[in-house]
Every structure is written in structure tokens, then in C-alpha cells.
């Protein structure tokens, strides 16, 4: 228990002392996970629209795959992305391994099924007659889609938060494809792992608490947005 208390004190002192290393690590986390979430949202919303509005053949199979994908083991994703990005691997020419971009790719792969599966549920929960009605009233497909997204915005924002949560809290794939390199690919989760390995538990707890604070700030911001819009 003392350790957690000491960690809390250290977290506060690290945040307020303006420690450059801590800020750098926190910014890297925000940057890679923010970008990964953005990619996952673009792809996930697109796939969900396709699955719900177009009802293509094999829809249930695809949906099962995305639902299963929510439990995609991050280390497996990390290993496969790493092997693809090895300089002797198929995408080695790009020179992306051990860069922030590699982490963005791995985290986007992890977050996309989460966003897709939850967005499908969100769009399906809107009364299907609504879409037929607006189409009958002369709305274009895009207008009808936009209306449904508006109607489902509460649940869609929840999908975005879940996607961000999956990305930012991930560590196995992050270390595997990023290499945990100081000043480049060290995130709050991989920094925590390193501190624990080196036996510095207080700093490890401090990094964990800073991560929790960031998650709370980002998700809290989205929640405020979600609840305010729903009230109006």
C-alpha cells in the first residue's frame, strides 16, 4: 500500500515539476493512440455503414469476425505487424519498424474491430423504418446516413471511447513494434513496463496514474460532449 501512496506522490511531483521526459512520454502516448483511434474510427464507421445500410451477403459472418476481433490478442497483432515491418519482411522497404508510425498501425489494427462492432450495434439500434422513411421523403443515401449517425451519436461516441481505450492501454504490441526507444517510441504503458523491470515501482505507479489521468481527461471530455448533445 505504501508503494501506491509513494507512487501517487511521485506522479504529482512528476506532473508539476515539468519533467521533460514524462511530458515527452505522455505526448507520444496521446499522439500515437489519438491517431490510431482516428484511423480506427474512419475505417470502423465506414465498415459499420456498409454492413448496416447495404446489408451485403456474408454480413453475419463479417460481423462475427469483428465481434471476435474485439478480443484480438494485442501481442499476436504486434508480432504479425513486426514481422511484416522487419527490414527483411514484405514491408521492410518502408523502414517503419521501431517508429511511432509502427505503433499507430498496430494500435489501429487493435482498435478497428472494437469501433466497427460497437458502431454496427449503435446504427442497428436506430429504428430501421426511420431510414426508409427519410429515403421515401426524397433524402439522398448520404443524407439518410448522416441522419442515422446523428440519431446514433451517443452509442457511436461510446464506440470511439472504447477504441481509444483499447489503443492507449495497449503495451505488448507497442513494445514489439516500437522497441520502447527513449524519446521516440516510449509510451506511458511501455515506460511503466521498463520502470517495473528495473525495480522502480514508485515511478511505474506514477506513470500508470498519469495514464489513468489522461484516459479520464480524454474520455471525460467525450462524455461531456455526449451528454450535452443528448440533453439538447
Amino acid at each position: 500500500m505504501d508503494l501506491i501512496w509513494d507512487g501517487l506522490k511521485e506522479a504529482v511531483s512528476l506532473i508539476f515539476s515539468g519533467d521533460a521526459y514524462v511530458y515527452e512520454v505522455a505526448l507520444t502516448s496521446l499522439y500515437v493512440s489519438g491517431l490510431a483511434t482516428l484511423i480506427a474510427v474512419v475505417i470502423g464507421f465506414g465498415l459499420a455503414s456498409l454492413l448496416v445500410f447495404r446489408a451485403p451477403p456474408g454480413r453475419v459472418l463479417a460481423l462475427s469476425a469483428f465481434n471476435a476481433g474485439m478480443a484480438l490478442p494485442p501481442v499476436a497483432v504486434g508480432l504479425i505487424v513486426a514481422i511484416m515491418l522487419w527490414r527483411t519482411g514484405p514491408l521492410g522497404e518502408l523502414g517503419l519498424l521501431y517508429t511511432p508510425t509502427a505503433i499507430v498501425i498496430a494500435q489501429a489494427v487493435i482498435a478497428t474491430p472494437v469501433v466497427t462492432a460497437l458502431s454496427v450495434v449503435a446504427l442497428q439500434s436506430v429504428n430501421p423504418r426511420l431510414r426508409l422513411q427519410v429515403l421515401a421523403l426524397g433524402a439522398s443515401r448520404w443524407q439518410a446516413g448522416a441522419l442515422l449517425f446523428r440519431e446514433a451519436r451517443l452509442a457511436l461516441l461510446a464506440a470511439v471511447m472504447a477504441g481509444f481505450g483499447a489503443a492507449v492501454s495497449e503495451v505488448g504490441a507497442t513494445i514489439m513494434v516500437g522497441g520502447n526507444i527513449r524519446g521516440e517510441t516510449r509510451t506511458l504503458t511501455s515506460a511503466t513496463v521498463l520502470e517495473v523491470q528495473q525495480g522502480d515501482f514508485e515511478t511505474g505507479i506514477a506513470f500508470s496514474l498519469i495514464l489513468l489521468a489522461i484516459i479520464f481527461a480524454v474520455v471525460g471530455g467525450l462524455t461531456v460532449l455526449q451528454q450535452r448533445r443528448s440533453a439538447s
Binding site: 527483411t88 517503419l96 521501431y98 499507430v104 520502447n180 526507444i181 521516440e184 523491470q197
Partner: protein, 271 residues
């Protein structure tokens, strides 16, 4: 935002021309956790980057993974402490040279009460035999690291097969964390002296036996760049030059003196 733009620009450049992202000034340095965990690696990398202007990406894993990545040409140069694996790389022609650069010692740490009387042992294998005979606990690395290899060789020399015994556990963790696991359970473990000294003020377990006969030697390996064509040969040569030079060797010798009062690694190439 500037980072996002830079990253997209870099990606676009890479897609346009493979040469743009080949990273001529980048060195992928493979090292083991027992070099990183006491903090030496950061010091060496900082000094090297200052002197030579290369951008080092240290990839730190157990020796097993480092050696496998090196075999596939995924690293430019490696530092390991697993003589058997190093010899295998030389025999297979993957490595073209190996230079011992520093050493420390393996030691057995364990409960101060020392139920197996390891302190009175006659050699490392005898100490292991005593632990096995007493049934007192032991935490092994179990991760294919250099320390794990030494541990397995010592069990064999002691004529003991610890696998499956209830006094034997594998941590499958890095060196520092593995010691902390042993400390938590108040049992014996094999650890290199650098990691042990750097953690000592957090530990209740104490040093009981030091193997002075067979030190823990770290070598830098030159990899065959003709066979592994992706290797950044110049950067690798610069690293080897640095770590074998008086400058690199002095960094090794001085590391830990201020903080722990002793050097954690003994340089082997300093006159």
C-alpha cells in the same frame, strides 16, 4: 500537430523512394536486459551518439530473442553474454567476429538465513546441488537469456534436473524483475552482479556466493553484412570502434561508481 505532419511526410517520402527511409545514420543495437536494467546502456548510447553522430535505436530483449533477430539481419550489431550462442553464430557464419568488452560476475542471492548453506559451497555447481538437495526455493529466468543459459549449464554440471520440481519456478522476466520475484518469495536466484548491486537497496535477499572462476563476459558481435545485406555496416563498425576504444571502455569502468561506490562492469580492453 507538427509531429503528425512530419510523420505523414516521412511516410510519403518512404513510399516515394525506399532510399529516403533506409536510415543511413541509424544504428539498430541489440542488447540484453542485464545491460539496460542497471542503466549502463543509456550512458553508452549517449556517449556514442555525441561522438559519432549516429542515431541509436537500442532494442533490448533477452539474449535468445536478440540472437534470433541478429540471425535474420534485423539488427546491425549486438552485445550479448551467452558464449554458446555467440559461438553458434560464428560457426554458422552469421557473425564474423566477436570481441569481449566487459565482464562482471554471476552470483547466487538468497535469504540471509541461507537454509541450503550456499555460502559454504565449493563452486557454483555445488551451490546449485545444495539448493536442490535442501528443497529451498529457486527462481530461474526461463527466457533463453544469457543468465538462463548459464543457469541451465550449472544445473547440468550439478547433475540436477530442476524442471517440474516444486521448489523450482521460472519467472520468464527480464533480469531486474526476476530478482525482485525471488526477493518477494524469499528464495534463491542466479543473477549478474551489476543488476544485483543496482537493486540491492530494494532487496532483502543477500549475496551468498560469487562465481569468481567463470565470469559473466559481454561481447560485441560483428555480423556478416555480405550475407545480411540490410545491415548498416558503417554504423555497426563505428559502434564496435567506440565500445572497444579507451573512451567507451572508460564509460564502462566509471559507470556506477558515483551511485553505488563500485563499478558494475569491468572493462576488458583498458590497459
Amino acid at each position: 500537430m507538427p509531429r503528425l505532419a512530419a510523420s505523414i511526410a516521412a511516410l510519403a517520402l518512404c513510399l516515394a523512394s525506399a532510399a529516403a527511409c533506409a536510415g543511413d545514420d541509424e544504428l539498430l543495437l541489440g542488447a540484453t536486459t542485464s545491460v539496460q536494467d542497471p542503466g549502463l546502456l543509456d550512458e553508452l548510447v549517449a556517449a556514442f551518439e555525441d561522438d559519432y553522430g549516429y542515431d541509436v535505436k537500442p532494442i533490448v530483449q533477452g539474449s535468445g530473442q536478440i540472437i534470433e533477430l541478429a540471425r535474420r539481419g534485423e539488427l546491425d550489431v549486438i552485445i550479448t553474454h551467452s558464449p554458446g550462442d555467440e559461438q553458434a553464430l560464428l560457426n554458422d557464419g552469421v557473425a564474423t567476429g566477436t570481441t569481449p568488452v566487459m565482464q562482471n560476475f554471476f552470483l547466487i542471492a538468497g535469504p540471509e538465513s541461507d537454509p541450503a548453506d550456499v555460502a559454504g559451497a565449493d563452486g557454483l555447481a555445488d551451490a546449485f546441488a545444495r539448493i536442490a538437495a535442501s528443497g529451498a526455493g529457486f527462481v530461474g529466468r526461463g527466457d533463453g537469456s544469457g543468465t538462463h543459459r548459464r543457469e541451465l549449464a550449472t544445473w547440468e554440471a550439478a547433475g540436477v534436473d530442476p524442471a517440474g520440481e516444486d521448489w523450482y519456478r521460472e519467472s520468464a522476466a527480464g533480469q531486474g524483475q526476476s530478482v525482485l520475484v525471488a526477493n518477494d518469495s524469499d528464495v534463491y536466484t542466479l543473477v549478474d552482479s551489476a543488476t544485483f548491486i543496482s537493486l540491492a537497496d530494494r532487496l532483502q535477499i543477500v549475496e551468498l556466493f560469487r562465481d569468481e572462476i567463470a565470469p559473466n563476459v559481454y561481447s560485441v558481435l560483428r555480423l556478416d553484412s555480405e550475407q545480411l545485406t540490410e545491415i548498416n555496416e558503417n554504423a555497426a563498425a563505428a559502434w564496435i570502434e567506440f565500445i572497444t576504444s579507451p573512451r567507451g571502455q572508460t564509460v564502462i569502468e566509471e559507470y556506477g561508481r558515483d551511485e553505488y561506490g563500485v563499478s558494475l562492469f569491468e572493462p576488458l580492453l583498458l590497459d
